[in-house]
Amino acid sequence: MKNHVWRPLYVALLVVAAILVLRKVLVPADFGVGKRGYMYGWHRAGNEADWKAVKVKYRSAEYCKECHRDKYDDIKASPHANIDCENCHGPALGHPADPPTLTIDRNRELCARCHFYLPYKTSGRGSIRGINPATHHPEAECVMCHYPHNPKLEGRK
């Protein structure tokens, strides 16, 4: 065959080779078909470890219990037993090393998340003791009268 037929073919082959080389360089080595097959499992294997390495911020009540056993026992014996410490005290992160103190959320809005009365009889909300924050002592923080670790002991602080 004549040269003018081969020449464009060489160019085409060169382009294909360049793409393959570029692909080899750009695509990470750990890319592959995972356990879920090609359609759902094609991924970079190292990414799973990346997600596992995300820092835990909410350490859960079991972590708080190690030092604050008294407060833990207090709330566990109250109607607020199921509320996690960190819902009001904020995420523990590396406490007590970092941060040394946690910021307690004493906003009325925090308590109103559950105790703002909504007349929804068909959901659990309708049976929680509730108030209207606009009319129930709007000037005061809830904790001035109610002890959050055991709301049955009103007035204790």
């Binding site: 991924h43 799973e48 199921n82 819902n87 703002f116 959901s123």
Partner: protein, 261 residues
Amino acid sequence: MITRRNFCKKTMLLVGGMAVPLAALELFDPKKLLADKSDKDKVRWVFLVDTTKCVGCGFCVKACKIENEVPYDANVTRTWVERYVITKDGATHIDSPKGARDGFETSQIDLGEGKFLDIKKEDISKAFFVPKLCNQCDNPPCVQVCPVGATYQTEDGVVLVDRSWCIGCGYCIMGCPYGVRFFHPVYRVAEKCNFCYHRITKGMKTACVDACAFGARQIGNLKNPDDPVTKIIMTERVNVLKEEYGTKPQVFYLGLTKEVK
């Protein structure tokens, strides 16, 4: 010398052969099926939401946003709580202000654009809250549409996004029938709930499960027959969202009604 008749015959044979999908030629392997059933160490994360217990406090949304570093004031969230108020005239009113990050601070329904709807107490026929999160589908459409392989499903069923590989095209955000995906405003990639993968793989529960004081949210392993969540899914009347899409969602709901979308 190839005749015209011969050429036509061979072409049709070739086209027909190419049309047979590769999957059709795959014989099932009894060993593989047996392994799936007998391997007790295997994990398939599933979620159980009890809508009858949810009170709409939004502590789950707050905890999720902080735990997973989703910008707190941006109006995007990995999980959210919807309020359904069905009035006696048959109308359904749904809202989720800021994804219920601060709970529901008013009895009015947030219609958006600064408009609110007052509903009288006596007009309500039923009202309840429905938490939403990623369904970690068995057939995740968001994974199928990814053109670069940046999103995938792990062996234990969780759909993850590779932030370093995502090009931000947004196909997956469009592809999810549940609307759980969004653009991360900081990383500028697709973002979604991943059942707190960093917590569940350490034996902890998700941040939203820990934050829920009412037991409305639970996480479990469907491959463990002794798991309390698995027992409820197997024995009680659970439902899933948008079953008709064929995505096989793995977040199960107790107490769904026809109004829930």
